[in-house]
């Protein structure tokens, strides 16, 4: 049973690796990246491109990040902040 599961996992890993060998990252597929580099400064007005992506183009990501931080604090305080007895 374990051997079958291991075989399937290795097979999936091999498919994932060998299907990505044809893709060329950087030049042919990066249409959005080129758009950011060309129009980023003129559309957002911020020189720092990373900041303009984080706080303007992909601001929902930042929103989710703050929600994750809030939930982390909530969980830590619920588990660890027991009342003194």
């Amino acid at each position: 049973m374990k051997a079958k599961i291991g075989f399937i996992i290795v097979l999936i890993l091999g498919i994932l690796i060998f299907s990505n060998l044809k893709l060329k990252f950087g030049n042919d597929v990066g249409i959005t990246a080129e758009m950011y580099i060309e129009k980023g400064v003129s559309e957002t007005g911020a020189v720092n491109l990373v900041s303009s992506i984080l706080a303007d183009y992909r601001v929902y990501d930042t929103l989710g990040e703050t929600i994750i931080l809030f939930i982390a604090i909530l969980g830590v305080s619920m588990i660890l902040k027991g009342d003194k007895k």
Binding site: A46, V50, S52, A55, D56, F70, I73, V76
Partner: protein
């Protein structure tokens, strides 16, 4: 648990750390950095003060600051619906790129995120350290 050397060094280092964190937050749209990174620096300042001097009177105000940061962030996003047409639209004038007043809503979002992350990380550190102290 701290010695006099650590206390003196902390007294010298803390103002520069706070200044550096505020610089990272405010210049987030010009130089590498941003709200999250500067907020983590400010949060680790609070951790250093607590570990060296044991001051924790101000802990209960940190949750207020975190709420203010989150509410300002959401307010900027929601006012983008009214003024710009969609959620989190960049509705303020862009300004000339490269100056400190540029980027529309990006500096405001950075400041709000920095406030929230600084207070949040300080609360996290305080809770974990109090738990460790209680365990000992």
């Amino acid at each position: 648990m701290s010695s006099r050397i650590v206390e003196t060094a902390t007294n010298i280092v803390i103002p520069f750390m706070i200044l550096f964190g505020i610089y990272i937050i405010i210049n987030g749209h010009l130089t590498p950095g941003g709200g999250f990174q500067g907020g983590v620096i400010l949060g680790s300042c609070a951790l250093l003060i607590y570990m060296v001097f044991g001051i924790k009177k101000h802990v209960k105000y940190f949750s207020i600051f975190e709420n203010i940061g989150a509410l300002v962030f959401l307010f900027i996003g929601l006012s983008g619906i009214i003024l710009g047409g969609f959620l989190f639209s960049n509705f303020i004038a862009k300004g000339t790129p490269g100056t400190i007043i540029s980027g529309g809503t990006i500096p405001l979002i950075n400041i709000a995120i920095g406030l929230k992350v600084a207070a949040g990380f300080a609360i996290l550190f305080f809770i974990v350290l109090e738990y460790i102290e209680r365990r000992n």
